[in-house]
């Protein structure tokens, strides 16, 4: 934060950093307890409770972020026990950035979900507790520094995600949820197997300690392979991605926004955190090339599939698969001295911007479904007079996904690219450029429909349904935030610098 803010609010800054350590567990407990309260009271009798809970969670998140921004990484030993025995909640820059993203997108989803689900006739009774617990779990994943605790959180993530995907309870949604459940269960058991081997080898479950004790022997390699495979299954990275498109596109719009922008993102965040904190000793060039290769293939595959989809939400879902490829490019680059810092900042920045843009895109698609009843791309023709604001949000979101300059997406692409070129990694630079162009193809294919004139003899059976004001403006706000991140990246990168991984900072001196 710039100096002017600090000296004027000296007293508040002290208070903030002191209470930041307490904000760490609150960020997990506040949404959890709100969810239980909402279930206990019943959301019909207290419709104001979920937004209030969301506001409190955002407040806790803001206090925590300020604490990290001013006082560096925050840590809290649960139950007062020291790490190897007890569980430590640890929030460094990367976690604070992701918590900020979750707070913003979470607030947007909470405001959007009420009118949307009432409009679609889906029961809010079960959506609120599931969504708020999911939010608590997301914050839990970002701040937990214990391997087994992360397993419990991952399981919670799946169990809250699958019912949201199956909420529409038609054949496609049910088969998608079932496929998601089975693959996610396989994923979490593989992760648990990896954690068991790590515990067997090092005797501790704490992230930093396991990273320190681990040597590059067979056990560590097998554990790393199992954990990475498990997390790839849960985050639907390329080879194990089959469940993502049906699940994300059949879930109700707010749920698919949360699933794509936050849930799958949190699992990819975990992959990066484990590889940078626990397995840096294993992060050799060939391993980096393998994961980078998977990322590159994911970028191309996701984009190619996105070009072929006849409906809007599958296009956005496949673009999620593609965009995760960028995050994986971090691993091959982070081992190279010239590319470590820019690649790390680029990947984190991309995670935030992608989250905002993806949520905006899904909510805009939700507006279209709310107004027209379906989301086939032909329906977009001539829709602009009715849904002009949502179409603007969709355009801005896609601009960010493509990495076009005025938006934040461009800055993350710039960072990744400058890292790659500085380290003479022409392959990864080419992947970033080609990925941007492929994203432009499927993005402009959708935007062409938005601008296309309706075919002659167009018969509109019934006028599109009027959108409630809040549903119309939430995606635009998210898209503008992604645009704002394009204006200047300094605040976010300064926050990210706190507690950067040792593998990145080692080259700094």
């Amino acid at each position: 934060m710039s100096s002017e803010f600090a000296d004027s609010g000296l007293m508040t800054a002290e208070l903030l950093t002191a209470s930041a350590e307490l904000a760490l567990p609150l960020v997990f407990f506040v949404p959890l307890l709100t969810a239980l309260l909402v279930f206990w009271v019943g959301s019909t009798r207290a419709p104001w409770l979920p937004p209030l809970g969301a506001a409190l969670t955002v407040a806790a998140a803001v206090v925590l972020i300020f604490g990290v921004a001013n006082g560096g990484p925050q840590s809290h030993h649960l139950g007062g026990w020291q790490p190897p025995l007890g569980i430590e909640l640890y929030a460094d820059g990367f976690a604070a950035v992701m918590i900020a993203l979750t707070a913003v997108v979470g607030l947007a989803v909470t405001l959007y979900a009420g009118p949307y689900l009432r409009g679609k006739g889906l029961s809010l009774e079960h959506f609120w507790p599931l969504w708020l617990i999911q939010w608590a779990t997301l914050n839990g994943i970002f701040i937990s520094a214990d391997l087994f605790n992360l397993y419990v959180m991952l399981e919670l993530l799946t169990l809250t995600g699958a019912p949201l995907a199956a909420m529409a309870a038609d054949r496609a949604a049910l088969s998608a949820a079932l496929r998601y459940m089975l693959l996610a269960l396989l994923g979490s058991l593989a992760y648990l197997l990896g954690v068991a081997l790590l515990y067997g080898a090092t005797g501790s479950l704490h992230l930093q300690e396991v990273g320190a004790l681990l040597e590059a022997d067979a056990t560590a390699a097998i554990a790393a392979a199992l954990i990475t495979a498990g997390l790839f299954a849960k985050a639907a990275i390329f080879p194990l991605h089959i469940w993502l498109m049906p699940a994300h596109s059949n879930a109700p719009a707010p749920a698919s926004a949360a699933l794509s922008a936050l849930v799958a993102k949190a699992v990819v965040y975990l992959v990066l955190r484990l590889w940078l904190w626990v397995f840096p000793v294993l992060l050799t060039a060939p391993m980096g090339w393998l994961i980078g290769g998977i990322g590159a293939v994911a970028i191309v595959y996701g984009a190619v599939q996105a070009m072929r989809q006849p409906r809007l939400k599958p296009v956005i879902a496949y673009s999620t698969i593609a965009q995760f490829g960028y995050l994986l490019l971090l691993l091959p680059l982070v081992v190279l001295p010239a590319a470590a810092l820019p690649a790390w900042q680029g990947a984190a920045y991309h995670a935030v911007v992608h989250g905002l843009a993806k949520a905006a895109a899904f909510l805009a698609a939700g507006n279209m479904i709310y107004a027209l009843g379906h989301d086939r791309l032909e329906g977009l023709r001539g829709l602009t007079p009715y849904l002009s604001v949502s179409m603007l949000a969709l355009a801005l979101a896609f601009a960010s996904l493509m990495g076009m300059p005025p938006t934040g997406g461009f800055l993350s692409k710039w960072l990744l690219l400058s890292g790659a070129i500085a380290a003479e990694q022409w392959l990864w630079a080419a992947v970033v450029i080609v990925g941007g162009l492929l994203a432009a193809v499927y993005a402009f294919r959708v935007l062409a429909y938005v601008h296309a004139a309706p075919p002659s003899g167009w018969v509109e059976l019934r006028a599109p349904r009027r959108l409630p004001r809040i549903m119309e403006w939430t995606p635009v706000v998210l898209a503008l935030l992604a645009l704002l991140l394009g204006v200047s990246g300094m605040p976010l990168l300064q926050l990210l610098a706190h507690g950067a991984p040792e593998i990145v900072t080692q080259w700094a001196e």
């Binding site: 889906l122 169990l159 019912p163 199956a166 038609d170 949820a177 496929r179 648990l192 068991a196 167009w458």
Partner: protein
Amino acid sequence: MSQAAFYALVAGALTGIGIYGLITQRHLLRRVLAVNILGSSVFLLLVALARRHPDYVDPVPHAMVLTGIVIAVSATAFALVLARRYHAATGLTHLPEDEESEEALAPGLLNRRSLADRRSGGGPPPGQPERRQGARRRSDEDRRSDEGAQ
């Protein structure tokens, strides 16, 4: 070879059986069984690891396994409820593997026909329900109208 190592080997073998079953069997109930076997094998490995020290028994893996068992039973319960509801909705007890039956499940999902139709110059305006080639079951046709998408 100590007793713990022996049981760890058994756990490894059980993991192999579990993974093999999960991938090859297509019946939903058998897949849930395979997941449970996989889970119990991971827990067996954990308990075996806890038993390696001659002078004490490590309680932390025990706590992990206890938590794991409860999580496994809740995940299984939800998977079974999903399978029951899926069976009630589609009458099938296995997930559609290839794309074709995916089409039967939800034409909207991979709308093969409208792609071909769009290539031949603009489908009918979306306002009007599109004529679809007969999917396998006529009755499903009428129930699945445009408004079905959520």
